[in-house]
Amino acid sequence: MSGPRELSRPGKAFAFLSLLVGSFVFAYPFLWMVATSLRTNQGVARAGINLWPIQWRFANYTEGLASFPFWRYLGNSVLSTVIPVVGTVLISSLAGFAFARIPARGAGVTFAVVLATMLLPGEVTIVPQFILFRTLNMMDTLYPIILPALFGSPFFIFLFRQFYLRLPTALTDAARIDGAGWFRTWWSIYLPLSQPIVVAAAVLQFMSSWNNFLTPAIYLTTDTWKTLPLALAGFSSVNSTDTTLLMATTIVVIAPCIAIFFLAQRHIVGGISFSGIR
């Protein structure tokens, strides 16, 4: 199973079949969720492992979304996702550029600190952050969810730095001879060139912000600012019998992630592969 070329015909058939069976196993829960979202409540009890709904019920979607202030929650989710995505991509790119291209005393040590912070569990800071945001009078607002995500992430800084290191230094020299400062050099040359990393980082941040549960669960207590994952969590505890509505709502909530995946598939796969290689 080592080299890609030397596999025998039966070996190839074995690989193909295993992957096919595995794909079926992996896709099944997902398809089953879609099927459940289209069944009647009685249908769920009778369906078992079958996929095809006997009686179709599209009203699960409208009823599921009508059972909580969907548009309000959606707006909050969009706000608490889009702002961190834009903020963290720009800030991380800026810092990655500085680490890759601006000669400075202390840069190496600082970069080691950035890398080390990747090992720190965010959970250690939830209590003091809670006290900080309480002192700043930011309880039950989106600020505690948005603000910490605005200041760049060590992982993205690392990605941008690695990418910029591979670009020819002549780019910087040419720009500086033309009189561009560091900021112009970054903004009009390096940032546009790093589009693959921009997309990959944006998508990864989107996924983590969109699915974020811990911080919203701590800070958001009223409908005014709650986000979609909280709606799902509340849903599952209140109407635990209404599986069909719950599945329909869940599908609506994850739909943007799946849409974005198909739109940016190339970049995501590229970015993830790029990120894993040290």
Partner: protein, 332 residues
């Protein structure tokens, strides 16, 4: 005053100080202009780090020596919180659950994602289709994934027990069972191996073909080539995934929270450490004790990471000086 105005004022004054210091330092020639530019460029990260990571960590260490319920004034209690932790049976249970989860899920997901990546690296037909299908579940994370699996593992109507029924096996109660609830969460975590699989696949595709050709000329067999070429070549990638996977596993929260309605599950079999921390802080309002728990978690993660780093000397292979992936531009 609007809360964000206070925050804006803090940031603005921090920047006023930063620009002032940089101007002074360049004027006095303590540092050159590019060093000043560098610090200004990375200052957003530095401020974020100080404000949301370093500061809070120091603060929580201090807080762990206090007793505070948010309402009454905090009182200094010395090492009481840590003594309480040492004798707390629930904390022992939480550590057991969390470590067991890490020990089960990290090796299993590493083995599965690596095996799938190896299968996909055989120039098999339909690789784009397979890659998409295996990766898609990792988009369904957190609350959505847990809710789906609450129904997959439902003892009566669930998918898994339905399948087991077909084979004549009477499935367990999964999340309702003291013994099976943790294995169920581990199984659930295996559904999202797609991200790691893609990383391994990229690593495998970067192994130089010449190495295999040379080995073939030397007449080595398939397993020899796997053990002596493939594994050493991708060992840094495995190492990276094991470290990040371990840190992630120690911080599991959402699954335990949703499955058990923040309770902890049957006989606390799903009382993950971060869930216990959350309950102490935001249900019992024991801010000091929760901070002590946070530091216990941090120390545990650091020890585990250090152990993996230590052990890595024996199995992670770094080729010195090879112009590898590090210097090659990957165009996705």
């Amino acid at each position: 005053m609007q809360p964000i105005a206070t925050f804006g004022l803090i940031v603005a004054s921090a920047y006023a100080v930063l620009f002032g210091v940089m101007k002074l330092a360049t004027a006095r020639r303590w540092i050159d202009r590019s060093t000043a530019a560098f610090w200004i460029f990375i200052s957003p990260w530095v401020f974020g780090f100080l404000l949301f990571t370093a500061g809070p960590m120091v603060y929580s260490l201090v807080l762990s020596f206090f007793d505070w319920n948010l309402l009454d004034p905090a009182s200094f209690v010395g090492l009481d919180n840590y003594q309480k932790a040492a004798a707390d049976p629930l904390l022992g249970q939480a550590i057991k659950v969390t470590l067991l989860y890490a020990v089960l899920s990290v090796p299993l997901s590493t083995a599965l994602s690596l095996a799938v990546a190896l299968l996909m690296n055989t120039k098999v037909r339909g690789i784009h289709f397979f890659r998409t299908v295996w990766y898609l579940p990792s988009l369904v994370t957190g609350v959505a994934q847990t809710i789906l699996f609450l129904w997959v593992f439902n003892p009566t109507y669930g998918l898994l027990n339905g399948v087991l029924d077909v084979f004549g096996v009477h499935g367990p109660a999964w999340f309702n069972s003291t013994f099976w609830s943790l294995p169920a969460v581990v199984l659930m975590s295996l559904w999202t191996v797609g991200g790691n699989m893609i990383i391994y696949l990229a690593g495998l595709q970067d192994v130089p073909v010449e190495l295999y050709e040379a080995a073939e000329i030397d007449g080595s067999g398939r397993w020899q080539r796997f053990w002596n070429i493939t594994l050493p070549q991708i060992s840094p990638v495995i190492f990276f995934n094991v470290v990040t996977g371990l840190i992630g596993a120690m911080q599991v929260f959402t699954q335990g929270y949703i499955v058990t309605q923040a309770g902890g599950g049957p006989d606390n079999s799903l009382l993950f450490l971060v869930l216990y921390l959350y309950k102490n802080a935001f249900e019992f309002f024991q801010m000091g004790y929760a901070s002590a728990l946070a530091w216990i978690l941090l120390v545990m993660i650091l020890i585990l990471t250090a152990l993996v780093f230590r052990g890595s000397a024996f199995w992670v292979f770094y080729e010195a000086g090879r112009p590898t992936k590090e210097n090659r531009v990957r165009t996705p």
